[in-house]
């Protein structure tokens, strides 16, 4: 069904107006999930206790004392000083685990949105691997077996050959003929090749083609470091932080929110938690101590003696490529795992994707843009309606507008 014919301008005008109001309405409401992830997720979970208590049911627990709850979130110290019993109880119970809660710069409405999100929270169903996704097959070690096999085969051929020789000589002895010295291996291969020219041609052709394909494949892999996982100065575990503790990626890699680089977090970000947590489940105090040494933290104060941590950069793009995390994560709403894979099962950083241009374009080709997501696209849309009927038809043919259709394949989107 060609939808273009159904669309006339007044209809679209109405549509745009409606859209405008819906967008505005949704803007007015603070997004509890986002706020929770950005501000609370480092210490709280909606449904489980972490460093701090589960937020689910907090409203119920604090019923009648909501004002104090608000104060506690905004300024815990002040709340404690009021001498409120519920606050004191909370403090006594939880402060040994994670210290005093950090004051949050949220307004009442936003705080309510966070609690509402926590109350409505249902743990996601365990992830099922979807079909149709690109999967990267791990290379196996079959070449080793092939080598062993071929050595065995060659040995067998040589043994059999000498057996044949011995037997032939035995026959000659039987017949009383002269003993012939064995034909050298090289000569016999040569004889065989000249007797089977057609076969030889095809074998040679096969070998040449196989070699060519192999070299081609290898050449394509030059500069592609999929799976690159260098040894890092600190044996950090994404599994513990992002996996078990479910800390949001952007809590540490906050650059993704505002910059082209996602950033290796500065050590002061670590200290938000490791101020209190000095022992980890995997390496005990050893690795965490390295952060303290780098920062010059003696357990209670900064000594001022610092040594920068020299991480090994994992994702290296060539100079002529401009990539922005902000563009993809914030504007494009691409999930981290799309490119970085499931880091919740990894230790230190690892390059999950190929990072080749073909890999980029694969996604630009199919990724759909939600044209209703912002007023920026409304403007683009309006201009299309007014001037670009031909283009619009093209866009609507498959019912979606992809990154490619808005210029995602053009050189100077990434190269300048």
């Amino acid at each position: 069904m060609n939808t273009i014919r159904l669309i006339n301008k007044p209809f679209f005008f109405l549509f745009t107006i409606t859209l405008f109001f819906t967008v505005n309405a949704s803007f007015a409401q603070p997004d509890g999930a986002k706020l929770f992830k950005a501000n609370c997720a480092a210490c709280h979970k909606p449904d489980k206790d972490l460093v701090g208590p589960a937020l689910k049911g907090a409203l119920e627990r604090w019923e009648g004392n909501e004002e104090m709850l608000m104060l506690w979130v905004k300024n815990p110290q002040k709340a404690l000083e009021t001498g409120d019993q519920q606050v004191k109880k909370l403090y006594d119970e939880w402060s040994p685990k994670g210290g005093m809660m950090t004051p949050q710069s949220l307004n009442d409405e936003e705080i309510m949105a966070v609690f509402a999100y926590a109350d409505a929270y249902a743990p996601p169903a365990p992830k099922v691997e979807q079909g149709g996704k690109i999967t990267y097959v791990k290379q196996d070690d079959s070449w080793l077996w092939l080598a062993v096999l071929s050595v065995l085969l060659i040995t067998a051929i040589l043994v059999l050959r000498s057996v044949v020789n011995v037997l032939q000589n035995a026959i000659r002895i039987e017949k009383g003929e002269d003993l012939e010295s064995a034909i050298p291996v090289g000569d016999s291969i040569g004889n065989w090749l000249s007797n089977n020219k057609v076969l030889t041609f095809f074998i040679t052709l096969f070998i040449v083609i196989a070699l060519f394909i192999k070299v081609w494949d290898e050449a394509l892999a030059i500069g592609v470091y999929e799976g690159y996982k260098p040894v890092q100065p600190i044996e950090y575990s994404h599994e513990v932080h992002a996996g078990k503790l479910e800390i949001e990626c952007v809590y540490c890699h906050s650059g993704a929110l505002q910059s082209r680089t996602a950033m290796i977090p500065s050590a002061n970000v670590c200290m938000n938690c490791h101020n209190a947590v000095s022992e980890g489940p995997l390496t005990g105090t050893e690795e965490i101590q390295k952060i303290y040494d780098a920062l010059g933290w003696d357990g209670s104060a900064y000594t001022g003696e610092t040594t920068p941590i020299e991480w090994v950069k994992v994702h290296n793009l060539p100079d002529h490529v401009y990539f922005s995390h902000q563009q993809h994560y914030v504007v494009g709403d691409v999930d981290c795992t799309e490119c970085h894979g499931d880091m919740t099962k990894e230790t230190v950083g690892k390059q999950n994707a190929k990072l080749t241009m073909a890999w980029c374009l694969e996604c630009h080709n199919t990724m759909e843009i939600d044209i209703n997501s912002s007023a920026y696209y409304d403007e683009v849309h309006n201009r299309l309606l007014e001037h670009g009927e031909e283009e619009l038809k093209g866009y609507l043919e498959d019912g979606k507008i992809t990154v490619r259709e808005l210029g995602g394949f053009e050189c100077s989107k990434c190269h300048y």
Binding site: G255, I309, K313, N316, Y322, E379, G407, S412, Y416
Partner: protein, 1065 residues
């Protein structure tokens, strides 16, 4: 049957000679020196056998190819404590201020990961709307000069700051005890707090009643004549504020007020406001000058005069106005110039109180006449404001001359030099240098061991302005703050801290500024912290201006003026000399800045050189080369003035007065091999410094010694000799043609009254092409004749475009350096520029008018050949047009169709994209580009030896200035203007994040940002409300070379001159 034929190898074979038979048994004909070879003893001792050799060879080939595939391990070192406002990958901007003794500007400093990489004007809050010039844009590069002083030193030996402090304090104490003098010599200090610190030091030395110490200031290029004249005229020893934006008639007698004169950055902004043909009114500009200056090239009426006539012109204007309004005349015979000034006088009389007469002379008498003229016109209190004077150029020429004699008399024990380079820029630098040897303790606060620094005992390196705190008051009532954008790169200390310390004040300079501001800002204005933070954020603080009043002229001031002017005009010799400053180099402080050296002069288009400008007629008469090019070097000539000789190439400039020579100041820096930066020296064809007598040869020659001494420094010499040496010298210029040959498809111009009274067809007719239709010849608009289908960018999505107003473009070239800085454009050096391989993405084409036009040729019955030959000759006093030219981002681009590898393509947003990594360097695109804006990378500019002395990307420190968002191009690829696509992408991203359409003006290209007159506007042509769309649709808009059918996205606005008929027409 077998053949029985026998073939002989030769006659010898046939005859079987004995020699042949002997040779037959040998493999080689010649004697093989086997014995010699094998008897070589070394052979046996060699440890490398043939097989080993092959093994090594094989291994190294394999290792090399493997290593090529190896990933280099790249380290990433994050902050330990990340500052909250620094985000890696994102720019942080700081408001600051620039002042170097010559230019002042409110600037914004762009920093990336803590490194300043770009400077632009603070257009929102800054003084003069943040007007900047090329020198200010380029100043960011000087921060990273690897030849800056890195530590304090005494006599060349490194010392500690503590030792320096104690040494100098002891020296001061002993000078005081011995009754000797302590002198602080500086440029004009525009910082009120620094002045306080200096006063503090002076007071602490002098105590109650002694006059051991004093502070003397001077300016490399002096304006003392103006303040001296104001002292006499009005009793105010200051330089007033001029408001060019209130003047409907501007008359300038040799003042290059758009490029160098006084606060030129501000005047350029004001000038731009009143040169808009669509404004309420358009100012008319008359210029009288000797050398064609950038300002003169923008004048509506320009007269070429001899320097000795400047006084006569001033008096002629004065007398005519005086007689018109019945005031007293000055008794000088001006009949020789009366005709020239008539137009200017009538404009002035028509705009009394809304006009401005200025003079670029440092001669007190001329300034007095100009003052009187402005009083007669009632301009004081309106276009001239003496109640709010500017605080720049307060130098006192007389005091410097006294200081030099004191030094030579051995009276000065301690001399502290701050912010000035007297050993270079004083007219009597030789005397100063001799005197300096007699000074026991000489101290220099400089950035380099330059002419002065290499002669002083102590070098106490100052911070670069981007590393320092400062406050400035460029004019009364206005304050600006300068803040550091980076920690000091080296072991340097801000000069003010030393001054404070020696004066017994232990505060840091930052604290001292705050304390001072806190003291002076009235309490009723609110909390000091708030005021301070706001001032710091915006870079400025206004304390409120005085009301401007009319001035009463002291009639006695004019006594002796007539005699002095008569004296000058009668003393003139055969040749007269004018010393001027160039837009790039100015007074010579930035001679080590490769961006500025490679910046073509707005008028001559010469780079990397200083030269003698003469008129075309004189050049022809002397027999000097007039046409200069790659294979056509300039003639060398020797100019001698008062026994000082300068040998420089001769460049003939249209518009120069015959019988005069112009020489630029600011060249010939580092003549004794001082370390002032690599770019200050000449490079040969191999790109290495040209060494003469063990020292590198500086670019150009120093013209300061020609400056006349006397009551005021004089930048005119009325008697000189000029003779060709017979030698030639290659010169690098970026534009060799002079005229536009009467073609209106590149350049269009009209006059204001035609524009205001006629239809578009008269002043900006549509281009049409003749086509056959139904057997008839018809004229069709260019757009209807096309090989290609309409480009889909029309109306859909974004379509980035630009509009350039030729009426307000003054040719200042600020955009060119801004483009250099933003886009990592390489510097290629003189030799490459000479070969027309300059890399400027944006150039400013300068066209002169010619006496010959098609109409005149028809009248005179000239043949076509003769007509075109004459058209190539510019007029003696031509009209000039400056036309910024960069990639036009054609919708039907010629380059795109010929690229065999699709390395240059069109984006859906109307940009002509250049993909360096696809480019294989066929250069077809450059061949096919009608605008000649594509630049080919002939060399690996960032690694090849030839560019090691000029290209900042080759210096390990200077490369920190590179913009990390733009790739550094390599050899073999084509490059060109990208319309700052990195900024477009960033702007769109910001808009998408904010969830709103891209606001008009939110995205600016570097050139548009840098333009002080807002001649360049950039935006989305598909946005119906955008400024650029409105300009593109205006009656004045045209496309360059429209008939070619390229359909550019860059529009030009027809140049409108304010000529003829009434003003305000």
């Amino acid at each position: 049957m077998g053949t029985t034929k026998k073939y002989w190898a030769g006659v010898e074979d046939l005859h079987q000679t004995p020699e042949f038979l002997e040779r037959q048994s040998k493999e080689f004909n010649e004697e093989i020196p086997t014995e010699d070879f094998l008897s070589d003893d070394r052979l046996g001792s060699s440890t490398t056998g043939r097989r080993d050799f092959l093994k090594y060879l094989g291994f190294s080939v394999a290792a090399a190819s493997l290593a090529a595939c190896e990933t280099p391990v790249i380290k990433a070192i994050p902050y330990l404590h990340k500052p909250e406002d620094v985000n890696p990958g994102m720019a942080t901007w700081y408001a600051s201020s620039y002042y170097d003794g010559q230019d002042f500007a409110s600037v914004l400093v762009k920093t990336r990961e803590g490194r300043p990489i770009h400077i632009k004007g603070n257009s929102k809050y800054g003084l003069f709307k943040g007007g900047v010039n090329a020198r200010i844009n380029a100043s960011v590069l000087s921060l990273y000069d690897s030849e800056r002083l890195t530590h304090p030193s005494k006599g060349g030996e490194e010392i500690s700051w503590d030792q320096a402090d104690s040494d100098i304090m002891t020296a001061i104490a002993s000078a005081k005890a011995n009754g000797k003098k302590v002198r602080l010599l500086s440029n004009t200090v525009a910082s009120p707090t620094t002045m306080l610190a200096i006063d503090g030091l002076m007071k602490s030395i002098n105590g109650e009643d002694r006059d051991t110490a004093s502070h003397i200031s001077y300016d490399a290029v002096s304006y003392y004549g103006i303040s001296a004249a104001n002292e006499k005229s009005f009793g105010k020893n200051t330089i007033p504020s001029y408001y060019f934006n209130k003047a409907k008639s501007i008359v300038s007698i040799a003042a290059d007020f758009l490029g160098n004169w006084l606060m030129s950055t501000g005047y350029a902004v004001q000038y731009g406001e009143v040169r808009n043909p669509n404004g309420e009114w358009m100012a008319r500009h008359h210029q009288f000058e000797t050398v064609m200056s950038m300002t003169g090239s923008n004048a509506d009426y320009r007269s070429a005069i001899k320097p000795s006539d400047e006084g006569l012109i001033a008096v002629a204007i004065h007398n005519k106005i005086a007689s018109a309004i019945g005031a007293e005349k000055i008794n000088v015979d001006t009949s020789s110039v009366d005709e020239l000034v008539e137009g200017a006088v009538s404009d002035l009389l028509n705009n009394k109180g809304e006009s401005l007469v200025i003079s670029g002379s440092n001669d007190e008498s001329i300034q007095l006449v100009v003052n009187k003229t402005n009083v007669l016109l009632g301009n004081y209190g309106k276009t001239i404001d003496l109640d709010n004077p500017i605080n720049l150029f307060k130098g006192n020429d007389k005091e410097v001359e006294t200081l030099v004699s004191e030094m030579n008399a051995g009276d000065v024990d301690v001399l502290i030099v701050y912010g000035a380079n007297p050993s270079y820029s004083l007219p009597n630098a030789t005397d100063f240098n001799t005197g300096l040897e007699k000074v026991k303790t000489s101290v220099y606060f400089g950035l380099y061991a330059d002419e002065t620094g290499s002669r002083t005992l102590y070098n106490l390196p100052d911070n670069h302005y981007l590393e320092a705190w400062n406050d400035l008051s460029p004019m009364s009532g206005e304050y600006a703050l300068a803040q550091p954008a980076i920690s000091p790169l080296y072991n340097t200390r801000q000069a003010q801290e030393s001054i404070l310390k020696w004066g017994g004040n232990d505060l840091s300079f930052y604290d001292y500024i705050r304390e001072t501001w806190d003291y002076y800002i009235p309490e009723e204005e609110g909390l000091f912290t708030d005021i301070w933070n706001k001032a710091l954020l915006r870079g400025v603080y206004h304390s409120g201006a005085q009301a401007a009043t009319e001035m009463v002229f002291n009639p006695e001031a004019l006594n002796g003026v007539a005699a002095s002017i008569k004296n000058v005009s009668s003393s003139a010799g055969n040749w007269q000399v004018v010393l001027y400053q160039k837009t790039g180099i100015g007074n010579g402080q930035s001679a080590n800045n490769p961006w500025l050296q490679e910046l073509p002069d707005p008028v001559t288009k010469v780079t990397w050189d200083n030269y003698l400008t003469v008129s075309l007629a004189d050049a022809n008469e002397m027999g000097a080369s007039v046409y200069l090019g790659e294979q056509d070097p300039a003639s060398l000539a020797t100019l001698s003035v008062n026994g000082i000789e300068l040998t420089l190439p001769v460049v003939a400039v249209p518009g120069q007065k015959s019988g005069t020579v112009g020489v630029a100041l600011g060249y010939g820096r580092g003549g004794n091999g001082e370390k002032i930066g690599k770019a200050a020296y000449q490079t040969g064809e191999d790109g290495q410094h040209v060494i003469v007598d063990g020292n590198p040869l500086p670019v150009g020659a120093n013209a300061y010694p020609i400056v006349g001494l006397g009551n005021t420094f004089s930048y005119r010499q009325y008697s000189a000799e000029l003779s060709l040496t017979g030698n030639h010298y290659p010169i690098a210029l970026t534009q060799t043609h002079h005229t536009i040959m009467d073609r209106d498809s590149v350049m269009r111009e009209t006059t204001l009254n035609i524009y205001k009274t006629s239809d578009r067809d008269v002043f900006n007719p549509m281009h049409t092409l003749a086509v056959h239709e139904n057997g008839k010849m018809v004229q069709k608009p260019v757009k209807e004749v096309d090989l290609w289908a309409e480009h889909p960018v029309e109306g859909v999505g974004h379509r980035w475009g630009m509009s350039i107003d030729l009426s307000t473009c003054i040719g200042c070239s600020s955009c060119v350096t801004a483009c250099h800085s933003e886009n990592n454009v390489p510097v290629v050096g003189k030799d490459e520029v000479r070969r027309a391989r300059d890399m400027h993405w944006l150039r400013i084409d300068r066209y002169f008018s010619s006496e010959m036009t098609k109409d005149i040729a028809e009248e005179d019955g000239l043949g076509k050949v003769e007509m075109y030959r004459l058209m190539e000759v510019p007029s003696n006093n031509p009209q000039t047009v400056h036309m910024p030219m960069m990639c036009q981002h054609c919708n039907h681009a010629g380059c795109e169709t010929v690229c065999p590898v699709a390395a240059t393509t069109h984006s859906s947003e109307g940009l002509n994209q250049m993909t360096y990594n696809r480019c294989i360097g066929t250069r077809y695109c450059a061949n096919n580009c009608p605008y000649k804006v594509r630049r080919f990378n002939w060399f690996n500019y960032n690694a090849y030896d030839k560019f090691s002395e000029v290209n900042p990307a080759q210096d390990s420190v200077a490369r920190m200035v590179l913009n990390p968002d733009v790739v550094v191009r390599s050899r073999g690829v084509m490059e060109k203007c990208s319309m700052c696509v990195q900024r477009i992408q960033e702007g769109k991203l910001d808009a998408k994040k904010a969830g709103e359409p891209v606001q008009d003006g939110a995205i600016q290209t570097a050139c548009a940002d840098a333009c002080p007159t807002h001649a360049i506007s950039f935006g989305d042509l598909n946005d119906v409300n955008s400024l650029v769309r409105k300009e593109a649709e205006s009656d004045l808009a045209y496309l360059a070379l429209e008939e070619v059918g390229t359909q550019p996205n860059v529009y030009y606005q027809t140049k409108v001159r304010n000529k003829n008929i009434d003003n305000n027409a």
